[in-house]
Symmetry: C2
Subunit: 714 residues, 2 copies
């Protein structure tokens, strides 16, 4: 993964790290850190190790300017505390004096300390102090950090993260990714820093920790960023020489082989099927049958011969043909034995509805079933889930009520409660769904397996996921980066505040990472993050309704000036750009609206206008190539009632589509209750429309744009 065009001296680094390991150290000395930096071409200030005061004087003379002097001893970790650091030393006498004083201090601090000498270092100054570092995140592994240095930014926490390895373009994006980025570009007549030099330091550091994963933390702080280069004034390197188990990973082919049989099974077995109402094993059977699933259904129950008209089997091993997925509805304690039999029957996937595993503190039982599954070649969904829906197969393998509005939206949730909210929202909003999948404890199958399946699933065109943690952040990012090039992925990451994270960890035993790490890396992976449950649901519903915009020029056409102002607010908040209106286009719009209507953008057609004004301006907005997306603000009047507006808008949009003009159109409807029906009508006709809110339609448009940009489509 290393930047192959750069010659790195890996042997030199290996030697330093091996020595530290041999000595049982978990940190490197400053000269070692410097050697590591040099080996990977990370610029550091001139320096040398002085064994005597004379050597120190000579070194200081060679370096020029004031120097910093620091004790070098494997036995003194806290150099400042030991009186082992002097800075800003100029002149031979001062250097000599500092040398003697540091040695004396060090001996007083620890008489037994072995002293290698004193590091004499060129003092850097000028330029902007920044921090560049690497850390090992429990979720994502090696992560690169960039931020401005100094106490102020430490308080404001203005830093940005990326998954390593980081290439040059990504490194440049980190410089732009902090709030105070403007400072790097030069403010108040200050010169811009050398962005390429900083990006170079970032990529080299990234390559280094990628090549040597035993480097657990790496701080270059401060790095002085100047208009003509950058160098790291201080280096701190921590090691973790323990072996970490790699997460179990499967190839895409393996994942697809299993997932395809699970999602499109020819035969489903229900372990613990029951004829008794109210039992989960009964609900699942009913839902499979009533949902219209056309494949074989095998109830497994040691005490029954037949359940709901289907022949029952005592054991899964008794089932005559192949089975693609086994849905478990038995209590937790019966799962291990049944799972063994599922493995013996060569069933590739088990869906574990029962609870009573890690989420109740029973980690042993969960570990046991994971082991059994691995030995038997069975992949597990759950445990502790509601099951899953897959509408292309009319498959409703859950204990909830069936859902049958088919469409392209696949939804997943870590939590059962959120799964139920997904179901209710889908039903009430008539959202076309391909899949709803519960992930629960994620003992095995998780988000990246599902993304790998949905990526190639012709029946899915968007994925929305609720998650509290990622078991394997790196696999998630890999899968997400692949699929988001083709299909949008919306993620609601719960536990994003400190308190929320605490609740998450008491709930699933998951260790929720710092939210800023998630935020930056989710962005890097191309997903659209939703910051609320309702946003996730509305984005899932709205994004596939909207065509992908071809550019950034957004135009607002509004009957209510007041809505225009609020819609403009929403445009800015959602990172969209109101088009600067070309003169000819401005004139063209003006021709349709009263002289006192506001030209420019928003285009305020004014409130008392007839349907023809809405129609003419919307048509112009659709037909002019320079405009890429439309936001409509409708104002309920007697002259243009809600349904009249809805029908004319739907018609004009359909006419444009018939001509091959595909642009996203969203609408905010301000008016009496009839605007609810009008909004529904518009939504069913490809216009994302809401009553009583100016913010929601623009937020959905903004989400579509975020995806289109990350997929490189605009």
């Amino acid at each position: 993964m290393a930047n192959e065009s750069v010659a790195y001296d890996k042997d030199a680094v290996r030697e330093v790290l091996d020595k530290a390991r041999a000595e049982g150290r978990e940190s490197l000395t400053a000269p070692e850190g410097r050697r590591v930096c040099e080996a990977y071409g990370i610029p550091t200030p001139g320096e040398g190790l002085a064994g005597t005061a004379d050597e120190a004087v000579r070194l200081a003379g060679e370096l020029g300017g004031p120097v910093a002097m620091k004790i070098v001893s494997p036995d003194i970790l806290h150099k400042t505390e030991a009186g082992g650091v002097k800075i800003g030393i100029s002149g031979d006498d001062a250097v000599r004096g500092a040398f003697d004083e540091i040695i004396a201090n060090a001996k007083a601090y620890n008489a037994e300390a072995s002293i290698d000498g004193i590091q004499v270092q060129q003092m850097l100054s000028g330029g902007q102090e920044v921090i560049i570092g690497a850390t090992t995140d429990p979720t994502f592994g090696k992560v690169i950090i960039f931020g401005l240095g100094g106490v102020l930014v430490e308080v404001l926490k203005d830093v940005t993260f990326r998954l390593a390895p980081v290439d040059h373009a990504t490194a440049i994006s980190m410089l732009d990714g902090i709030k105070a980025a403007e400072i790097l570009r030069g403010v108040r007549g200050g010169e811009a820093v050398d962005a390429d030099a900083l990006a170079d330091v970032i990529t080299r550091l990234s390559d280094l920790v990628t090549d040597f994963p035993q480097i657990s933390e790496f701080d270059l702080n401060p790095v002085f960023a100047r208009p003509d280069g950058a160098s790291a004034a201080d280096v701190r390197i921590l090691l973790d020489n323990t072996d970490h188990a790699e997460p179990v990973r499967y190839s895409q082919e393996e994942i697809l082989a299993t997932m395809s049989r699970m999602m499109r099974p020819k035969a489903v077995a229900v372990i613990g099927a029951s004829a008794e109402n109210g039992k989960i094993g009964n609900s699942v059977m009913k839902n499979l049958i009533n949902g219209g699933y056309a494949g074989e259904i095998y109830p497994i129950n040691p005490k029954a011969d037949e359940i709901l008209g289907r022949k029952a089997y005592k054991n899964i091993g008794d089932v005559p043909g192949d089975v693609d997925v086994a849905v478990f509805t038995v209590p937790a304690k019966f799962v291990p034995q049944a799972l063994r039999e599922v493995g013996e029957k060569n069933i590739p996937a088990a869906v574990l509805i029962p609870s009573g595993f890690a989420e109740t503190g029973n980690h042993e039982l969960q570990d046991e079933i994971v082991k059994i599954a691995r030995e038997g070649g069975v992949r597990l969904l759950g445990p502790n889930i509601y099951g899953y829906y897959y509408t292309p197969q009319d498959l409703c393998a859950t204990f909830c009520t069936p859902y049958d509005v088919k469409g392209g939206v696949a939804l997943t949730s870590q939590s059962g409660g959120i799964g139920m909210a997904i179901l209710g929202f889908s039903r009430t909003s008539k959202m076309g769904v391909s899949a709803i999948v519960g992930l629960g404890n994620k003992s095995d199958l998780d988000e990246d397996d599902l993304l790998t399946y949905f990526e190639q699933d012709p029946d899915t065109n968007i994925v929305a996921m609720h998650l509290e943690d990622l078991k394997d952040g790196r696999s998630f990012v890999e899968a997400a980066q692949r699929i988001t090039k083709k299909k949008p992925v919306v993620v609601l990451k719960a536990g994003r505040t400190a308190l929320g994270a605490k609740a998450a960890s008491s709930h699933t035993g998951a260790l929720a990472g710092d939210d800023k790490v998630y935020d930056d890396i989710l962005k890097q992976s191309g997903v659209v993050r939703a910051y609320s449950l309702n946003d996730m649901l509305e984005f899932a519903r709205g994004i596939p309704v909207l065509p992908t915009p071809k550019g950034e020029n957004v135009v607002i056409i509004t009957g209510a000036g007041g809505s225009g102002v609020l819609l403009s607010d929403a445009v800015v908040e959602n990172g969209l750009s109101l088009m600067e209106m070309p003169k000819d286009l401005d004139e063209a719009f003006k021709a349709f609206i009263p002289p006192f209507g506001a030209s420019g953008n928003p285009i305020d057609i004014t409130g008392g206008e007839p349907p023809s004004t809405y129609e003419a301006t919307i048509r112009l907005g659709l037909e002019d190539d320079r405009i890429h997306a439309l936001i409509l603000g409708y104002w309920h009047t007697i002259v243009t009632p809600p349904m009249v507006f809805a029908e004319l808008t739907a018609r004009v949009v359909a006419e444009a589509r018939a001509k091959g003009i595909e642009k996203p159109v969203v609408a905010s409807l301000a008016g009496d209750v009839e605007v609810e029906e009008a909004s529904d009508y518009l939504y069913q006709h490809g216009v994302v429309a809401y009553p009583y809110t100016t913010e929601k339609p623009v937020a959905v448009l903004g989400a579509k744009y975020r995806w289109a940009r990350s997929a490189g489509l605009i």
Copy 2:
């Protein structure tokens, strides 16, 4: 308004300002600035004016340490450009050299310049650089600014504003009001700055600009804030000696006298009443009659004898008895004459529905009617509005459809479109409303008049306002500070982004101020700001439903762990505090929930629990005095269906209220579509509940808390 305990030398300031005025200057020289600071006890560094090099040497010696030297000349404004500034000068020779060089530079820069001498100033350093200033905002008048100094904060714009005059407590709140406030309190072992000294500078500056309004801008930048004091290193004062017309203001008694007759009229005249369907004058008549208004209705129409069964009059002057309000439905051009007649008839209020005034560029006509109204003693609502509703009187003086769900919510909107959204939302959510008022162009009556009325209106217990600008920010703040002590006020300020503000100004000709000024001053005035239309509406609906909390301890009780995590996120985002659970209380909750349920807060009762578990835990949450507010997370299961949960919750809450226990309870319902009915039921029974969202119920609770805190109730 000045801080009376401090002896200010007003005469000294007046003398400086008068001199500058006499000389036609709009800025003060540095020594003048210093004199002004001294007169108000604002500490500045030691300094003096040197006429000769010898004097400069003597002064520098007296001041001690390095000095800054600056040319003082009324003819040289850009001192640095003129080579007239030297800093960090130490030692007699250096001071002498600097003196000569500055004089030479100044003469080279402008040979004609009259030179007063050279200012020799003690150089301050150490401590934290902050900026303290005052400016004259077009909406709010004198406004005080506080922020950290330095280029970084300039980029991050971390400043806070307050309306002057500012008292000591408010000044202290400014120090806490910036994002980087932590720096002032001391970070990384740094000492805290002297907050009282900084607050003292702020209040003195505030008193100064309050006493001398001709000071239009005042910058103390930087002020060095040290652990043992603060002093201003640089002073910049700009003057505006032009006379500004004070906005017309009325006393509270005058406002109430008019507003009471307008809102509770015994007789209403409709100028331009019509029998013809589709005419606005017909709609208004119908709405008045069909809305059930019990007072007299006088149609005014020169061509009719009777309209909708009511005797019509040719002119308003012909009406026999007193009239309290005249509703105008005639075209703009007929307004002036009719308004004159309204004045002659001594009608105190005119409601101007017609458009065609400032909003269409016709400022002259608007100015004319304002003048006529003032001469006639008539207050104007509008023009360019839908009219107004006042349900306690069954009064529907609008051309929209009647609204009759009575309740305590008063809503106002500057925009007609937003007014229609208010109407539709109210109807669909069955919100109990006292008034809906259109403000339109606000040629006269505006938000502060309405606040003054609603403050004492027994039928109103909350006010929600949509606004794009304030004509008189100071009157608004005064009225808002008064009413918000008793009743919550929610404000949606549109045009809050740069783009939004642009749209506002093209729409109403209003000059939208910088949003941060609005944000801070709205907070200072005690209003709850909503940042979206839907939030404004939901806050208006929900806040009066919830009792006022008595403390900050919020507890989440949830059936779905996943909802618990999202609800915790929302708690943090809304500035609420999850209660640290005392051991005994934790044990008490644990007694009701399964052993694997999560204790602490959120209390995760787990998903499979029967109604009795919800009931027992909710009751305990209500009855324990240490808990001040409850957030419920419901998870739809067969064991506890939605309506069962809704009914038991409503019952337990009602039982507690019967015992005098009043706590806000909000709920998020995750489940299939039945949760919609359950949420409605809960809302009707005093629990603010929503389906498919974890964020909205917590946002409403957060809004209630914001108001309760600002009113000093917790």
